[in-house]
């Protein structure tokens, strides 16, 4: 039931969907409250987010800093564009690796689904090349670890 889907759409979008048992209000709050974000937006095991700034208002700043506790880390910055409690968040984000990646515009929708929520996250990248690079380098933290694993597979 909680199956995640990840697919490309058109030339510049990536769409992720996921269902949650909790109602939209709770899922929405977990996406904007820094104390809550720090508990889950972590990527692979072993990574933490010691710095989380989330000013949930139009134009408000976003800054997430991740570390693997062994000296490796990177951060993401962004800005909120639109917030419709508890149904929709639009924000722009970029990774710093350390050079900033092109802006990724993300629309996250929270639709009631029975007693729970259907979340639909739609990313819009500036062009197909950027989307290709993003998919190839990984959207989440600590993808180097995954690369290492992938190396072993090929």
């Amino acid at each position: 039931m909680n199956q995640l889907t990840l697919k490309t759409e058109g030339d510049t979008h990536v769409v992720v969907t996921r269902q949650f048992a909790a109602p939209p209000e709770a899922v929405y709050r977990a996406h904007i409250d820094p104390k809550l974000i720090q508990k889950w937006l972590l990527g692979p095991e072993g990574w933490t987010m010691p710095v989380c700034i989330s000013e949930a208002k139009p134009g408000g700043k976003i800054r997430y800093e991740w570390t693997d506790g062994k000296g490796r880390g990177f951060h993401l910055t962004g800005e909120y564009v639109e917030l419709e409690p508890y149904s929709r968040i639009v924000h722009v984000e970029r990774m710093h690796l350390p050079d900033p990646t092109p802006d990724n515009r993300v629309e996250t929708r929270f639709d009631a689904d029975g007693a729970g929520t259907l979340m639909t996250l739609r990313m819009t990248l500036p062009d197909t090349q950027t989307r290709a690079t993003m998919l190839a380098t990984g959207m989440e933290s600590g993808m180097e670890a995954s690369y290492a694993r992938l190396d072993g597979m090929i």
């Binding site: 030339d11 889950w40 290709a132 993808m143």
Partner: protein, 117 residues
């Protein structure tokens, strides 16, 4: 890079609709460049250029058959891409599994407050 998969090149190769259509054609089986070019309003050199991008990305392979060089899908490359996407999905899944736990905790606290002993 020939023969090895370059993920960045592979995803870039897939970003073009003609190249996606070529892969869809090859998914049905091996084909000559002429056969591949047929449904497209493009010159054969243009199609060959697209095929080269797909080959360099490790998604298409060629066989020598006399004077012909039929192309086919490079299964290993396609599978490696699938695996990569599966891994990406897994990283996202870990996040959302953690979010499930966070949400369950929020619900628990709310219930706790509601009881007001």
């Amino acid at each position: 890079m020939k023969g090895t998969l370059n993920l960045d090149a592979a995803f870039s190769a897939l970003a073009d609709p003609t190249r996606r259509a070529i892969l869809a054609r090859l998914a049905k089986g091996e084909a000559s460049v002429m056969e591949i070019a047929k449904p497209f309003e493009m010159t054969q050199p243009a199609i060959s250029q697209h095929l080269k991008v797909l080959e360099d990305a490790g998604l298409v392979a060629r066989r020598v058959d006399g004077a012909k060089r039929p192309r086919r899908l490079a299964t290993a490359g396609i599978e490696a891409m699938d695996q990569w996407l599966a891994m990406l999905r897994e990283a996202l899944e870990k996040n959302y599994d953690r979010l499930d736990a966070v949400l369950a905790g929020m619900e628990q606290r709310k219930k706790g407050k509601g009881e007001k002993r």
